[in-house]
């Protein structure tokens, strides 16, 4: 590997990753070791720091020396990797050679590159470095279609991004400007606790306390301590206070999570037709979506967020990576939950339309769809009720009381959700887009380019046939792969499908014989 890479190749010189990679590895190893050694240190010193006796001193010295050795080894290993990793941006291909034991040489055709995403965690940010992921947006290739340069300097990362995504600027539609399309308003943090993250985080916090106390063998004491606090209060009050505490923890957690994910969020359009999302408080992220692979947008309104009059905007695009290691890196989100009007305006800007198709008037679905939703909701609410009642009759009357309480709460909730689910249903063809809306807990309105529809799946169960409805699903290469129109009128739905994608369905339709219409 000491041979210099072939020189004189036009347009591309071999480059190395940033030297500071060694520093990163050293710091990461040191922090991992610190986490591992601390308990050992505590054990050695018997709880008392640097206690008496030469043995303790020796043990400490050995431990620190071992740690230093491990750090050196890790840095040396990283040095070897660094020496053998090089990349080149040629006129036609991007190449990456890497590997110490198993040498891999990978290259991507530049014309197939669809995304260059930059991520920097706090450590990388301090060192002014970024991690670069170069992707072709091909899902079938899996890992093979992504090159990762980790790390390069921030300036180099920006240079790579600009160079690889540079396309001839489109002359059309000057009306829709380049530059910032939307940026986050810190007051939107108020929508953060409304999502389902808050209660989940609250529960997780309580669970974490229990787990951690279990590790140190003091779980019983923690429970006892909590019980002592509530010595003179009723069980109900105790449950209420604990639930409140978990809720507060959840709210605080969701606010923190929101800040980490969405701080400094900006959605920009760059010359050449690339949408870029930049965001992150500690870990800075930059995600690019080429407009060529954008097939539409999805306006998502989770229940709590919708009640507060807000909505989130997702991109429906081909080849957005799902395999990013980062848990919070939801790459398709263009705008976090924001006031409805802002989301609509942003959607229009993203799609280069005067008005967003997601706000188009939608065709409502037949009443049979409402009946079906009510039936499902009531059935799913009645099953636990029936179980509770039967058990109550067989075992103890306490269960009957619980069943009555459950019925009083669950049945109205089921009816409300079913009616809301029916109200959500709608579909339309709006300009160049097919629009469909559904969902109550997570209401989603999708505007999909009609040209992006690459097939239809039409489903009808025996029940649906009797009710005169069917479910139409447009398949697409982008986003979730398929978007459905649930329980549309079986005649009108087919006409809608023909209108949305002319020609595709037409040869397979036939007029309905008269007697069938009247029956």
């Amino acid at each position: 590997m000491s041979t210099p890479p072939p020189a004189g190749d036009p347009g591309g010189e071999w480059r190395r990753l940033d030297r500071k990679a060694l520093l990163v590895t050293g710091a990461v190893t040191a922090s991992v070791l610190a986490g591992l050694c601390l308990p050992v240190l505590l054990g050695i010193s018997g709880g008392a720091w640097f206690g008496e006796g030469p043995r303790r001193g020796t043990a400490l010295t050995l431990l620190l020396a071992g740690a230093a050795l491990l750090i050196l080894l890790a840095v040396y290993g990283e040095h070897l990797t660094w020496c053998r990793t090089r990349y080149r941006i040629g006129p036609e291909r991007v190449e990456l050679h890497s590997g110490v034991v198993l040498v891999t040489q990978r290259s991507l055709a530049r014309e197939r590159i669809r995304s260059v995403d930059l991520t920097a965690n706090p450590l990388l940010r301090i060192l002014d470095l970024v991690k670069v992921r170069i992707g072709t947006g091909e899902q079938s290739g899996g890992k093979e279609s992504t090159l990762e340069l980790n790390p390069v300097s921030r300036a180099e990362g920006e240079r790579l991004r600009a160079e690889l995504l540079a396309r001839a600027a489109r002359p059309e539609s000057r009306s829709h400007r380049d530059g910032v399309l939307a940026s986050v308003d810190p007051s939107w943090i108020r929508y953060a606790p409304l999502s389902f993250v808050a209660p989940a985080l609250g529960g997780a916090a309580a669970g974490a306390v229990m787990q951690a106390s279990d590790w140190f063998g003091v779980q019983g004491e923690v429970i006892g301590w909590v019980a002592d606090r509530f010595e003179n209060t009723s069980v109900a009050a105790m449950i209420a206070v604990l639930a409140l505490a978990a809720l507060v923890a959840g709210v605080v957690g969701s606010l923190g999570l929101w800040a980490e994910m969405w701080w400094n969020h900006r959605l920009e359009r760059e010359p050449g037709g690339t949408l870029r999302v930049r965001r992150g408080l500690l870990t800075a992220r930059s995600v690019s979506v080429e407009e060529r692979r954008l097939r539409g947008v999805e306006l998502v309104e989770p229940l709590g967020v919708r009640l507060a009059g807000a909505a989130r905007l997702d991109a429906v695009a081909t080849g957005i990576g799902h395999d990013d290691g980062d848990a919070h890196a939801d790459l398709k989100v263009l705008l976090p939950p924001a006031p409805r009007a802002v989301t609509s305006a942003t959607a229009a800007q993203v799609l280069r339309e005067p008005v967003t198709p997601t706000d188009a008037p939608l065709t409502p679905h037949p009443r049979a769809a409402r009946t079906r939703r009510l039936r499902w909701a009531l059935l799913s609410a009645l099953v636990p009720l029936a179980v509770l009642t039967v058990l109550g009759l067989l075992l103890t009357p306490v269960l009957l009381t619980i069943a009555a309480g459950y019925a009083a709460a669950a049945l109205p909730a089921a009816v409300l959700l079913a009616l809301d689910a029916y109200r959500a249903l709608g579909h339309a063809v709006s300009g160049g887009y097919l629009v469909t809306r559904s969902g109550t807990v997570r209401r989603a309105t999708v505007a999909l380019q009609r040209g992006g529809v690459i097939g239809w799946v039409i489903e009808q169960s025996v029940f649906q046939r009797r009710a005169g409805v069917l479910t139409l699903t447009a398949t697409t290469a982008a986003g979730a792969g398929a978007y459905s129109v649930y329980d549309a009128d079986d005649r009108e739905g087919l006409v809608f499908a023909v209108e949305a994608v002319p020609g595709l369905l037409t040869p397979f339709l036939e007029p309905v014989p008269e007697r069938d219409i009247t029956s």
């Binding site: 690459i454 039409i458 169960s461 005649r491 397979f508 339709l509 007029p511 309905v512």
Partner: protein
């Protein structure tokens, strides 16, 4: 659409032109009988060996056997009446299902791969399955229960048509 739309006539999906090979019924029936036999055996064998749980296990085995036999009696024929396929120069059109019917349509210009598949049981009945995929992860079309020679010819024809059709399939 013009001829249908002009008069405001109601439309519905017409069935695709071709039925499956009749051996498909026996193939499906054999499949469900094998699954039923397996499920029944898993419950019945321990039932015969473990005396204390015998009643429960044998009862469960009987339920599985009855349900499986009923399925094998009813569904293969029903499915055969529903399953149909058609390949035009523009699109692949398939109807499948029984209780829940499904119509799938993919235009030739969007087809990415065409595969034929023959499992051991399909081979025993001289059948094959043709699978057509598009760029959508949910747009796959399967035509199962075709005569294997017909399936090979279809796959070849589909490959030729899709190669001749321009477009990058997304």
């Amino acid at each position: 659409m013009t001829s249908l739309e002009g008069e405001g006539t109601a439309v519905r999906l017409r069935p695709p032109n071709n039925r499956l090979d009749e051996r498909a019924v026996r193939w499906w029936r054999t499949q469900s009988l094998i699954v039923t036999a397996g499920g029944t055996a898993v419950l019945a064998v321990p039932g015969l060996l473990i005396a204390p749980a015998r009643g429960w296990l044998l009862a469960a085995a009987a339920v599985v056997a009855v349900l499986g036999l009923a399925e094998a009696a009813v569904f293969p024929g029903w499915r055969f009446r529903v399953h149909r396929w058609e390949i035009t120069d523009q699109a692949v059109y398939v109807r499948t299902g029984a209780f829940q019917q499904q119509w799938r349509i993919a235009p030739m210009s969007r087809i990415q791969t065409v595969d034929t598949r023959r499992g051991p049981l399909e081979r025993a009945f001289g059948l094959a399955t043709v699978t057509v995929t598009t760029a959508s992860s949910k747009g796959e079309i399967e035509i199962e229960g075709l005569d294997h020679e017909l399936a090979a010819r279809l796959a070849e024809r589909l490959t030729l048509i899709t190669q001749a059709t321009p477009g990058d399939a997304t």
